[in-house]
């Protein structure tokens, strides 16, 4: 949403241990639709970074293409960002990480960007255990290209145009666990009390941390369930065939207790049942994590919380035995073997 942000800051504004206010962690004004779940996630990232007293310039923000992938512009304005090409953020993040292992890499992607075009790169960045936080802002559709089903859309759900999705939905959380991610969580954009701590834990995690964040698309939401009621405006839009009218809507929030269920009514009137993993869930057990996820799915519930963590996870640099100095800081003296060595090399080819 575009609005004019005031530049005024009260002197008593809270500051973190680095002396920065939370506003210091913000980015440019968002141009997303009013009420878009993605904006809530940006706000949560701002809060998490503020609370963790992260140096913004020690963060690199990376993304692909989509509404979700635009969001890195909207947080951490003092960090370098890279809005790459559709579905290929993981490879760019991998290269960046190889160049400098000392930064915090925050990758933001969408369900289209990750589960469709990016599925291959996603699988492999997980498998490599790259030290990064990978966020999917999951709205079950392609927001930026106007609402087509994504591969995470529920089987049987209806898209904006009314077509029923006949295909299996991809559960990125399970896939991430299956492929060896060492921190896997799911949350909801409107549940800041759950989301902020998860983001903080994920940022602190060494290795690959994945958070699948359900983030309703105000404009093209397409969860199953019937429409709330006969809607004059909807009918009007259908009749004209133009999808250029987007009613202003509010952000959906949902804060609830661990171990409980919570029904969230989405913008189209459909209901999504969130379930927060109970305090008893043991997130150290990979097989168990997969089981509870599947069970919830069969119940028609969306399980949230920290699903799996391996606290002994290693950074890929440790596995690769790369030097501790970031590679981008090595100069000629270290990198270039010099002419003497070259003479020996020449000799070996005679």
């Amino acid at each position: 949403m575009s609005y004019i942000r005031s530049r005024f800051e009260h002197p008593a504004t809270p500051r973190n241990s680095l002396g920065y206010t939370q506003r210091y962690y913000e980015g440019s004004l968002s141009t997303l639709c009013a009420g878009c779940g993605h904006d809530s996630i940006s706000a949560a990232i701002v809060q998490a970074c503020f609370e963790l007293s992260i140096e913004p310039h020690k963060v690199a923000k990376l993304s692909g293409i989509g509404c979700s992938s635009k969001t890195p512009t909207y947080f951490l304005g003092q960090s370098h960002g890279f809005n790459s090409v559709h579905g290929r953020m993981p490879s760019v993040a991998t290269g960046a990480n190889m160049a400098n292992q000392d930064l915090l890499y925050v990758g933001v992607s969408g369900d289209g960007d990750t589960a469709s075009i990016g599925m291959g790169q996603f699988a492999h960045v997980v498998r490599r255990g790259l030290n990064m936080l990978y966020i999917v802002e999951n709205n079950g559709c392609y927001g930026l290209t106007k609402g087509q089903d994504s591969a995470t859309a529920d089987k049987g759900s209806k898209s904006k145009k009314g077509a029923v999705n006949p295909y299996e939905s991809i559960d990125l959380t399970s896939i991430a666990i299956e492929l060896g991610a060492t921190f896997v969580a799911r949350s909801f954009s409107g549940d800041k009390t759950q989301l902020v701590p998860l983001l903080k834990a994920a940022m602190a995690h060494k290795g690959f941390a994945f958070i699948d964040i359900i983030s309703p698309c105000v404009t093209f939401n397409n969860h199953n369930g019937s429409t709330r009621s006969y809607d004059f405006v909807r009918d009007h839009i259908q009749a004209t065939g133009a999808v250029d009218f987007i009613p202003l809507k509010d952000e959906i929030t949902a804060e609830y207790e661990e171990g409980t269920l919570h029904d969230v009514t989405l913008h189209d009137g459909s209901v999504m049942r969130l379930k927060k993993a109970s305090r008893n869930h043991n997130p150290m057990d990979r097989v168990e994590a997969l089981r509870v996820l599947r069970e919830a799915e069969l119940q028609g519930e969306v399980l949230t919380g920290l699903m799996y963590i391996d606290q002994n996870s290693d950074d890929v640099h440790a596995m690769m035995n790369t030097t501790e100095t970031p590679l981008n800081q090595l100069g000629e003296s270290v990198l270039c073997p010099g002419s003497e060595a070259l003479q020996k090399i020449n000799a070996s080819f005679r």
Binding site: H80, S84, G95, A96, N100
Partner: protein, 619 residues
């Protein structure tokens, strides 16, 4: 029958079966020729297969230093493959020699009266000497090399030295190999009149040259050029670039104190990921490269457009093979020129370098990292299978220890501190190249957002047409600036002639030889070797100074000629094409014949296409 006689000027070809260990033995032979001071080149002609199919190794020995492939019949065939024997016999020059394993008698129908058959019962000897099946297989190769030493009048000690160096202190391996060599040597001496008419005699014609494949040289160039991140996906014939980088990096780039690596190699899941990683690493300030071949370049094309437009350095080694599609994956071609120069949709142009020797592979690869960072754009090194995978004689590498890496316009923390308003895409110096910053440099200054979408000079997203045009025009200006930076062409033959020749890469050998041959035929020629794209005035001037200019290249569609026409003000009628695209390196004979043919013609000589220019179908 008149046996061919020649000293240090003939072609010998080995016909083997894939996977039988012949290539190391054949390599030993070539190295020995080289050690004897005689110029030699070798080309592996191998199938896209791992085991059991015919493979050939063609060696040209030429005292004058003409080391391009010599087409046509061979002087000496070493036949170890019954599958291809018929074809191999047919390929021998009248008066030539045919060495074969006579354990099984030669099929009488294969006999030829005009060539010399040299029968050695290789397998029989092996069965007698060795019990292990695999040793029998392996040493069979060494035995025929021993025989060649005697037959061609070579110095046995040279072979002994090579074996000792190769196996270092592994005594058992040394003695057994030398024994096998001797078996062959003695058998030849005892059964044939040694030497034959063909001889290899010591000379002093190789100077301080070295001999290696271009891919190894490329890898060393990457090491010396300061590459720290290699990301790749295996594909013939580029795989050995990263293999060699791995090998030398593990030798030369491991911190002695900690044992930790000052480099990272990632085998990516595919080529899209490989180039993505290279872009990510370069964006983050590390010198990074990938190596691939045609199909990989196609897959990288979206990302190359991003790097062009967002102005991110990247080094890509394209070891070209015969296309299109999977084509002939183990054959050579120069057919990715257009595809690389204009890779990606929209208006894009990429910097290309064209090495023609291992030394240039080394230098240009090292330079590519400087160029990529100076120009903030992808630089593509256009090698090919012939150069990359075959051993070539080359000038030795050298390196100036004073040389500093040219990192281009990168602002450090102090510089940022001093600047009041940093604009990532502001053309401060008027050369089209702007200043960039690396993440993590400064706590408050220099952060910006990199994107493949249009943006203003401060890197802020914009859909403003004027700003877009300004940026696109600046990119053209930058490409003009690139002409200052890239390798200038080499005027390789200056004979004050009316006819010129333009060529690049691995056509060099054949061109040099062709020019000499044409001279003998009374046709004077000048020649210029193109070493980089974008082209610059030297090339314009060269074309202007000649009545006709032949463009020699190894593809069907005259791709370099196309590039010349598009980018320079060259009248198409002046540029004639000499093309070879059968997957084998071009030969001097092909060039000579084609030029003579075109010079003798009356009609306007152009490509191979005769336009039809009619309409059958009204629509």
């Amino acid at each position: 029958m008149n046996p061919i006689a020649a000293v240090n000027d003939f072609v010998i070809k080995f016909a083997n079966v894939n996977g039988t260990g012949s290539s190391s033995a054949n390599g030993l032979f070539v190295k020995a020729v080289f050690r004897m001071g005689v110029p030699v080149s070798a080309r592996n002609i191998f199938p896209s297969n791992i085991q059991g199919l015919p493979t050939w190794y063609q060696v040209r020995i030429n005292e004058q230093g003409y080391l391009g492939r010599r087409g046509g019949a061979v002087d000496f065939m070493v036949s170890l493959n019954p599958q291809s024997m018929q074809k191999d016999i047919a390929e021998v020059q009248s008066g030539g020699y045919f060495l074969y394993d006579s354990t099984k008698p030669l099929d009488p129908s294969l006999q030829r009266d005009d060539i010399h058959f040299i029968a050695i019962p290789l397998m029989e000897i092996c069965i007698r000497e060795y019990t292990d099946a695999r040793q029998r297989q392996l040493f069979k190769n060494v035995i025929y090399i021993g025989a060649l030493c005697a037959l061609l009048d070579m110095e046995f000690q040279v072979f002994v030295d090579l074996i000792q160096e190769q196996f270092r202190s592994k005594e058992k391996l040394i003695s057994s190999n030398i024994h096998a060599l001797e078996l062959g040597y003695k058998y030849a001496q005892e059964h044939f009149q040694c030497p034959l008419g063909l001889k290899i005699h010591r000379r002093d014609k190789v100077g301080d040259a070295i001999m290696l494949d271009g891919n190894t040289a490329t890898a060393l160039g990457a090491i010396y050029g300061g590459a720290t991140v290699a990301a790749w996906y295996p594909i013939t014939p580029s795989t050995s670039v990263v293999d060699a980088f791995d090998k030398y990096a593990n030798r030369l780039r491991v911190d002695p104190a900690s044992g930790k690596k000052n480099f990272a190699i990632i085998q990516a899941e595919d080529e899209l990921a490989a180039i993505g990683m290279v872009i990510g690493a370069n964006w983050n300030g590390a010198r990074s490269f990938t190596a691939t071949s045609g199909p990989g370049v196609s897959l990288m094309s979206e990302f190359l457009g991003l790097a062009y437009f967002a102005e991110i350095p990247a080094v890509l080694i394209d070891v070209q093979r015969a296309g299109p599609s999977t084509g002939m994956p183990t054959r050579t071609q120069q057919s990715d020129i257009l595809c690389a120069a204009y890779a990606s949709h929209g208006d894009t142009k990429h910097v290309l370098l064209f090495p023609s020797t291992p030394k240039e592979c080394f230098e240009m690869t090292a330079d590519a990292f400087d160029l990529a960072e100076q120009l903030q754009t992808p630089v593509i090194v256009m090698s090919d299978l012939d150069l990359g995978m075959n051993d070539h004689m080359s000038e030795p590498f050298d390196w100036d220890d004073e040389r500093k890496y040219k990192r281009g316009k990168v602002l450090n923390a102090e510089q940022l501190e001093a600047i009041s308003d940093f604009g990532r895409y502001t053309d401060v110096d008027g050369d089209g190249i702007c200043y960039r910053t690396i993440p993590g440099t400064h706590p408050q200054k220099g952060a910006f957002f990199t994107r493949g979408t249009s943006r203003d000079t401060k890197a802020i997203y914009t859909e403003d047409g004027e700003k877009y045009v300004e940026n696109m025009d600046r990119l053209i200006k930058k490409f003009e600036t690139a002409k200052h930076y890239v390798h200038k062409p080499e005027l390789s033959h200056n004979n004050d002639a009316r006819i010129g020749m333009l060529y690049f890469g691995t056509s060099s050998h054949a061109v040099n030889e062709a020019i000499a041959a044409l001279k003998e035929q009374g046709e004077k020629m000048d020649a210029m070797r193109i070493r980089a794209f974008p082209f610059n005035r030297d090339i314009d001037d060269f074309i202007a100074a000649h009545d006709k200019v032949f463009v020699v290249e190894q593809n069907r569609d005259a791709q370099l000629r196309s590039l010349l026409m598009i980018e320079n003000h060259v009248p198409c009628t002046k540029l004639l094409s000499v093309l070879n695209y059968d997957g084998m390196p071009i030969t001097a004979t092909q060039i000579v014949n084609e030029i003579q043919r075109q010079l003798g013609r009356v009609e306007p000589p152009l490509a191979s296409v005769t336009p039809i220019h009619q309409h059958k179908q009204e629509s």
